[in-house]
């Protein structure tokens, strides 16, 4: 199992550009999450999904969109990049029921200039 994979690892965007951060998990987990991590601020939940076709907002959803068409994939879309979106983005997944362990991907470091 590769676990949770994220692409790209690094990206530099110009203000106003758009991009999609990819997240894939091969553990057949129903739950998936997107977090952003800013220095000294911990992790903040952006969006999450409890299964294919179901998504919901987290703590800091503004400026982002998500979709969940399959169990495996949970892409995060930035439509109009702003410097405030410079951050490290982590995707995580969890199986339904049972343990509450969230498994994190390696992250995408995004810089908006």
């Amino acid at each position: 199992n590769a676990g949770v994979t994220q692409t790209p690892k690094f990206r530099i965007l110009k203000i106003g550009q758009s991009m999609t951060l990819q997240c894939t998990q091969d553990m057949n987990h129903n739950y998936m999450y997107w977090y952003r991590q800013d220095p000294g601020m911990g992790l903040k939940l952006i969006y999450y999904s409890v299964g294919a076709g179901i998504t919901d907002k987290g703590e800091v959803p503004n400026g982002y969109n998500v979709s969940r068409s399959t169990t495996e994939d949970f892409p995060l879309r930035l439509e109009l990049a702003a410097p405030s979106q410079t951050s490290v983005y982590f995707c995580a997944s969890r199986e339904a029921g049972g343990l509450d362990t969230q498994y994190f991907g390696p992250g995408t470091r995004l810089t908006v200039l």
Partner: protein, 113 residues
């Protein structure tokens, strides 16, 4: 508003010593309290977790102590090793909340030989 507060912000410990990180929370409805460990350039990984029906949980050199009345929980790393140098995040989630984790800001622990 930070729902989960960690202290101290950073910690330097000698090899073989005990590292103690504290976490305080406000919402008494939280029912799951994990600690995540993150190495530079990596995603967080679950280290140990506790539910409020027990006051202590131990896994190897790592122990969580939980004080429900004080709304605090702490991570103790016994016999600290240089390989334990990392950032540690406490978190909490609500029952029936789809395991949406509220993270603390993180503590950087450095273990010196």
């Amino acid at each position: 508003q930070q729902q989960v507060k960690q202290s101290p912000q950073s910690l330097i410990v000698q090899k073989g010593g005990i590292s103690i990180i504290n976490c305080a929370y406000e919402n008494t409805a939280f029912d799951y309290f994990p600690w995540y460990q993150q190495f530079p350039g990596k995603g967080p990984a679950l280290l140990i977790a506790i539910r409020p029906d027990v006051s202590e949980k131990k896994e190897g050199r790592f122990t969580i102590s939980f004080n429900k009345s004080a709304k605090q929980f702490s991570l103790h790393i016994m016999d600290s090793q240089p390989g334990d140098s990392a950032t540690y995040f406490c978190a909490a989630s609500l029952p029936y909340g789809n395991n949406r984790l509220a993270f603390g800001k993180g503590n950087q622990v450095v273990v010196i030989p």
